[in-house]
Symmetry: C3
Subunit: 343 residues, 3 copies
């Protein structure tokens, strides 16, 4: 790898260079493992000792630590974002080899931009569309009339059902399933009668979807994921949900049907959000929290039972079934004591 000098990186990405700009950097690494041709970073003073021991060739750091080490360095307003861009520069993916692998099965009425690539053993159904510069991995399945925009990357074994669409620059990881039927049934005597799921999943630009995450198609209207949303692995997004722009959702979260989540929210891992509610913009839900009703105000919300040693938990948890009784007894004590005090 040819690499870049620190001065070249500064020319491309900005920031303020201090020290030797001629040092050549070929890759990025953590402070503790970086060598003389590697670029590292730190966000704040917490890792200052690691910085001082680091063998990195250069570092990205915030203004507050600008002169804390003699290493060649770039002072950046947002060192984390700067490092992300520098890492993308030093670890640029190999250029795409456009074309359709001979073992892929592409319906003659599908439209694949010639600058995109379709991997081995992938199936593209009638009417599907793939825009320019997209990478479709091995064993992917694109259903009828599915749409993948430009500069997307679908990793191996992703499934996009019929009629569902992704915008530009989306990344979808292996095992993700976009557009399976929503969980919709009418009670019919003792049995459940399937309600046909006729909507689609529509996904905006710059969305990333983690491994084995599932987003169900709408019942009548569509399920919508807005621009810039980031979904981690093993997330369930039910039918007719809408997730607002730039919301980030950690792994193992479930969102039940028809719920609307605002923009710029964060949802912690394994949180569960019930159906038919609204969550405002800028809401932050703690990991493991069950959200049972709408959240109107931005802010941070939590609802988890704290962990303790099992034997202490047993002793304390027994009282949870008697809180109502405890509250009544406190009121009664207050009444009796008040009467006594009046004596």
């Amino acid at each position: 790898v040819a690499g870049y000098t620190l001065g070249q990186i500064r020319e491309i990405l900005g920031g303020e260079l201090r020290g030797n700009g001629a040092v050549i950097l070929r890759s990025v690494a953590s402070l503790s493992s970086a060598g003389p041709d590697q670029l590292s970073f730190l966000l704040d003073g917490k890792h200052l000792p690691a910085l001082q021991r680091s063998g990195a060739g250069a570092v990205i750091l915030p203004a507050s630590l600008a002169d804390s080490v003699p290493l060649p360095r770039i002072v950046a307003d947002n060192p984390h974002a700067y490092f992300a861009r520098a890492a993308a520069l030093l670890h640029a993916p190999a250029p795409i080899e456009p074309g359709i692998h001979p073992t892929a099965v592409v319906h003659p009425d599908a439209l694949i931009d010639p600058t995109s690539c379709i991997g081995p053993l992938t199936f593209v159904a009638r009417g599907a569309y793939v825009g320019s510069g997209s990478i479709i991995g091995a064993g992917v399945s694109l259903g009828e009339n599915a749409v993948v925009g430009s500069d997307c990357h679908l990793y191996d074994r992703v499934v996009i059902y019929h009629g569902c669409g992704l915008g530009d620059r989306c990344i979808v990881h292996s095992g993700a399933v976009i557009g399976a039927d929503g969980f919709g049934y009418a009670k019919d005597g003792e049995a459940w009668l399937k309600v046909p799921q006729l909507g689609r999943v529509l996904i905006g630009d710059d969305v990333e979807i983690g491994a084995c995450t599932t987003i169900d198609r709408g019942a009548l209207d569509d399920t919508v994921i807005e621009n810039g949303v980031k979904l981690d692995n093993l997330i369930m997004v039910a039918h007719n949900v809408r997730v607002g722009a730039h919301t980030a959702i950690a792994a193992c979260v479930g969102i039940a049907g028809s719920t609307r989540i605002g923009s710029r929210c964060t949802i912690g891992g394994a949180a569960m959000i019930v159906g038919h509610i609204e969550i405002a913009d800028g809401v932050h839900i703690g990991g493991g929290t069950l959200v049972a009703k709408s959240v109107i105000q931005p802010g941070a919300y939590t609802g988890v039972m704290p962990m303790e040693e099992h034997k202490n938990w047993l002793r304390n948890a027994a009282h949870l079934r008697h809180l109502d009784d405890m509250a009544r007894r406190i009121r009664e004590l207050e009444r009796r004591l008040g009467r006594k005090e009046e004596d």
Copy 2:
């Protein structure tokens, strides 16, 4: 699409026609988006304003709202089930094109009914069987001696392990895995020794299984899913579980080994059910609830920590570790106050 007149729909599906039966309907839609050739529905008075503003060509409604609008309409005892049937009528899937795609790999000793279709890049192992009128999508894997009944639909990239079986009219969504090994180990010094998982998964008729749901094979006996069960996405059914007929389970639920769940239960999203317990018929478990012991009585059960603003939660949750102490102090206050009152 040719469509049906409202009168024709009534002839096929029953109900009571009011207004113009000659209106032609080509598809279904929600009240707010429906146009003049679309059929919509409502279940109760809550959506009456939307009904009154609706541009639908016709609606399905309950007797209590029979004359609330002048629109052509059908009065049905169970408007939700009626609408499900009407939607299935108006949105009938294209007829199957029977046959085995040339890129599918089907073992010569597998038996595929000639009225079924096997999608591209699908693998069918020795001894597997597919009944009449079933659709097996792209990239599916049917293990040795796996059985799929009649009129089933397995979407792309479903995996059925060796020896597992599905009844008739089952639907399985992409990414579902039926028949992986149960999580069974014997402690052997510091290490875990695998216990061979020799049972199967047996699935009844009219079962629907969501995307990326996993149902493990039994250790010695079989894991059983009875008729009419509906499983949403990302559910874990462990080895030797039995789920009773017409039970519906929402997404992200885990059911640990050897547990038996009754018939006509509903399990809310992200509930977790421990192993080796029994849940009676007609039990309803709330979302996010951990079920730690058998449930003998039908009814509704819940166990979740309510969500609140994070700063309030911090203040309140701190006391959960001291409930035993609080209870003791209340008893002590009662004793002391009682003594004082006797003075």
Copy 3:
């Protein structure tokens, strides 16, 4: 199946034979379903009635029950492990048919040991390696430079991303995804900027990974799963996590980024472990528990809200938002009563 006599089993696996060693056993079964050519087992006296009614040809049992039945039997120090070994003996898998299926797509620069088999419709990318005696199922995807050791079994539709590696004797079930990008973003104004995920997933020997479990690659350094770890289905292991040797994790667990879990731990189903913490060796976390900070001491830990009838839960849960107030009122009562007692 030829089977083994009980005497032959004792010769191979040890233990103490009592009764007729000439009985021929062809398979294993549970006590209640076993017939005269089947071997069964029990661990303790709890199943003694089932043992006494059993039609098994022979049983494995502990010393404490050595003479509780006249059946041919082997007395073993660890009957569960003994039974696991006997089941593996009686149910030995068919020998591998080595070779690459003609429909598999294997890059010419991949290295496949000739004693291994590669299933139909599987894709092996450039530089990937498969050791001796391994079974790679149908529709698997092995990324560039992925490594699979010897005597591994990857079931159908497993995905291993580029650069990730498995040791020897590993089992990976269908739908598992090893090496997808970690959930790493830098905040960049309103949007999230992807931080390239440049580490790998490194998996030791004798690891089993369940269906649809996802293990993300590290951001800079690697995600590590040590020897003998057992992961059930639908588990999320985030980037840069380390799981210590012989730790067993039940289904639906999430482990957030950079957390280190010790050796010989057990984690119950649907537990959620936050990021950047350490869990000591020999820690046992209860199902459904959220682990929010490091656990220094071995032992058992729990944090779940007990389930009760929904109407009782409603009544009790209302007080959880007022625990701080209840605690204050108890203190106040103690103060007032103390003053009164001093009168």
